[in-house]
Point group: C3
Chain length 406, copies 3
Amino acid sequence: MSVDVQERNRLSAAVVGESAPDYKRKFSLPQYYYTSPELYRKEMEFLRSKLWLMAAHESQIPKNGDFKLFEIDGESIILCRDLQGDVHAFYNVCRHRGSPVCVTNEGNAKAFSCPYHSWTFMLDGTLKRPRAMDASFDPKEWNLKAAHLGNLDGLLFVCLAKGEAPSFEEFAGRIRPFISQYGLTKAKPVYVQDDLIVTNWKLPLENYRENYHISSVHQDLGRVMGAAMDHSNGESHAERMSRLGRSLPMVYDEAESLYLQQAIQFAFGKDQVSATQDGSAASSLMPTITEWSKGWTYINFNPLSHINLQDDYAIMVFFTPVSETVTKTSMVFLVNEDAVEGKDLDVKKLIDLYVVTMAEDNVVLGRHQKGIESGAYEPAPLALEEDQIVLFHDWYFNRVHGVPTA
Amino acid sequence: MSVDVQERNRLSAAVVGESAPDYKRKFSLPQYYYTSPELYRKEMEFLRSKLWLMAAHESQIPKNGDFKLFEIDGESIILCRDLQGDVHAFYNVCRHRGSPVCVTNEGNAKAFSCPYHSWTFMLDGTLKRPRAMDASFDPKEWNLKAAHLGNLDGLLFVCLAKGEAPSFEEFAGRIRPFISQYGLTKAKPVYVQDDLIVTNWKLPLENYRENYHISSVHQDLGRVMGAAMDHSNGESHAERMSRLGRSLPMVYDEAESLYLQQAIQFAFGKDQVSATQDGSAASSLMPTITEWSKGWTYINFNPLSHINLQDDYAIMVFFTPVSETVTKTSMVFLVNEDAVEGKDLDVKKLIDLYVVTMAEDNVVLGRHQKGIESGAYEPAPLALEEDQIVLFHDWYFNRVHGVPTA
Amino acid sequence: MSVDVQERNRLSAAVVGESAPDYKRKFSLPQYYYTSPELYRKEMEFLRSKLWLMAAHESQIPKNGDFKLFEIDGESIILCRDLQGDVHAFYNVCRHRGSPVCVTNEGNAKAFSCPYHSWTFMLDGTLKRPRAMDASFDPKEWNLKAAHLGNLDGLLFVCLAKGEAPSFEEFAGRIRPFISQYGLTKAKPVYVQDDLIVTNWKLPLENYRENYHISSVHQDLGRVMGAAMDHSNGESHAERMSRLGRSLPMVYDEAESLYLQQAIQFAFGKDQVSATQDGSAASSLMPTITEWSKGWTYINFNPLSHINLQDDYAIMVFFTPVSETVTKTSMVFLVNEDAVEGKDLDVKKLIDLYVVTMAEDNVVLGRHQKGIESGAYEPAPLALEEDQIVLFHDWYFNRVHGVPTA
């Protein structure tokens, strides 16, 4: 690739300065923002210390002893439920020599016994006294390291800050009313999909924030969303939400905010009740939903962590950095825990729209990264429909680099 | 590999100085010239800004709307023919967000519509006004970026200089009389082969410039060329060329030259009319050839771009850097556009000698790179038959690094 | 991975100073000791210049003209036997242009003729006068470069020092009495296994030096070694060794030593005569062994080169760095040259214990490297049974970095 190495090195230094280097507002980012390993490490320091990252839903580890790994930036985090039913998040690193104590992606265990030297950690992270240690060795000082953990109606968030984490309540509080309408504590997962794509982590984020590409890339999603423009459903969406007691003022963060959160309620189109290829329901109503609202809720917890809630299913969407040019995209589909496939649940119908959409995005994004690495690439004006990218850039410079973009 | 990192870093600085560091004339190059990423980037800056690189033959995009990609050093260039029949070269980078606008290696199109956001560029590169842009947006400023393009009897050359390119006429002028004997504007491609090899780009170049390895590596080529030493064809080659009005003084550049060009007419051996395994013809005469000259023309446009012309076919030979230790070798075989397979054309016979030769070289070169990366490698005296490598080194230091080797 | 780049770079400088940076004695090493490319290069400079590395056994190249490659850190060394039967070690790099002169891993040859330009080196490394060289060219100055070579009862050691090598006698002398009990000069190889694992080279070394992991990782080896704890074989091991004239004071080097050598004689358990799954013999007695000693000899030549000798077979164990995070583990099994499969030799039985053990270690070690690359990894106290790792660390800092750890 023709990345300008000197330019890239210059940046590593410059971006700590007073301005956003080489960045023109309402334009795309310069090349090295998508390629520099040094810049990537700086971004990860921010993401690890400041963000609450959505990691899983509690229903993915329903029984005592259940565990599941969440991996980001080469880090492996164990999410597990102890014998009292409490959920924990631990770094998957034995306190003895550093071997992973858990080597399967998910399962059920009585304890984590390191496969190397059998140091054994209980499900609450406490170390059982290992044999053959010096008498002065105090096991209590060598429990598994906990990652900060937050829980919002079963949605599990971790923060990898080495010291204190930002307030979880401040992070989750404003979103809670939107989430709690759906009763996620009584949900269950029916489909999980992970894909690795060869792009910098900011490309899928930018892609997720704009509809400008939908007509080019997403035939199915475009059709479904196009239908949503027609709101002639008798009673208006606002009236219906009010009648159902579900009206909420939207959350819409500015660039100076901590997390750039959004929570917005949208209407579907005529005769449409869910985000499926034909607009019809794919599962029974979510636990605390009593009547079809003919709409859905779009939520950004932060630029990496998202959930869309329909009246019959929720989809968690994750963009997870792996390295400066590799990102993992993930989806977890949740339904009412009482839904039964073949009776009131049709998983294929449920997942099809977003599985197709994600596949289309992943192909386009891999190509996009390659194009950006050209010597001919240069930042250009964004379209009006890409204004959410501008908002992300403003937040990115404000928060990650501590420099204004105005 | 045991590359000396400190030595390599030292070079990055030193080679901009007054001499060719660590280089002894008539010896092979020091190790880091074949391994250093920093040095490679410096070389690419030179190759991109100063060379006219052979990219394709016009007959590979014969119809209006035809296009073909040429890729070098991570860069993708679109060669295309517009609706008026004019040929263009564009950087394959959407002016909006940087995605490639063309994602297939060759084909036919009415326009290039970016698969990401549908920005659409006509075949002459002009941008159709995209929707949803700010009123101040002027499409005329955001056409596809053109690469510099030159055309010599259908041979297409690009220059990736960001500003002005060197004169194409100065580049191509002295070679034109040799090329124009063959009527390439009425040629067509019959075989294309690309291979990736794990070597620095200078190794295949050096290999191409010496016959010293032929007896070891190329049994078939050695036999054909050995036969060529016997010139007892009655009339001498010089007499015949003179009689046919095809005599030309050879072009043979010195190290101070811009491009290190060569154009030389050679005789074949007794009873031999073409560069095939048995020396017999494999196709009908090239468009403007009227009688077998029993010889061929060897042309170096520059160290990366070559063409050999026989009376019945031409072979374009490309060495294209991909990264500091990966290079693409390519061949395009051209014949008279009227030749018909099974009648006056035998493609298998036509390509066999050079396909075998290239395969043999590619194997040897991959090993050679590995050997050079040994801690025991050190430059050694070149053989007399490797004098063309010395000439290349002289040019390389003069032109790429701006330092003399005397 | 979350390796701290700045910390890593800081080390490259700091470790040349007066202390062992970030290292607490009796703790595991900091992360960057297992990941830094710069540190790896520094270590390789030490390993190449100071160590005698076990490379093969002479019986692997038994006939005149036989050759075999030994590869380490991207370097390829030819071990060959010339027409007088003398063994040599050469860098596999043609003195002309640097191509490997030998491109098969083992075989028999009359000479090494470079496959590129046919420069031909005799089996003693002397260059035959190549054609087409300048008259001033003196072939005697361009023989294959020899690596330093030592031979201990057929065990071949190379030293890659560019100048003088350390004394081989000083290296091998103290170990010779242990080796010579077994008559390895009349041994032959019956099984060779090489595996690449994705770890820094120090992890398999540390693993090899401690038994703390055996109960977790090695069910079979643990059972065999557990049995060995019961020494009720009538006559004690010490008495028997004394009666057999095989008693030797153990070699046990301290951290200040050149090579950290060990040579120790151990007893097997009751009814056990060899290191096999059931403790019974798998081959006839080694050439100079006359009676089962019911014990074995454990030898570390240096941290990379090991041999374990049983009365019926020997196993050479190699840990060979490939890059900062790739290592090759190798085993060569030797038996009495007169042993015959199906008669007094059972190869499957012979190799099974160590093939299983090595496979188990390789899996654990690959995971261990990944865990160490976590941001949560930090050095921790070693177990009492890991005291040999502490000794290795002391030697490592003393010898590789020239700094004390006390």
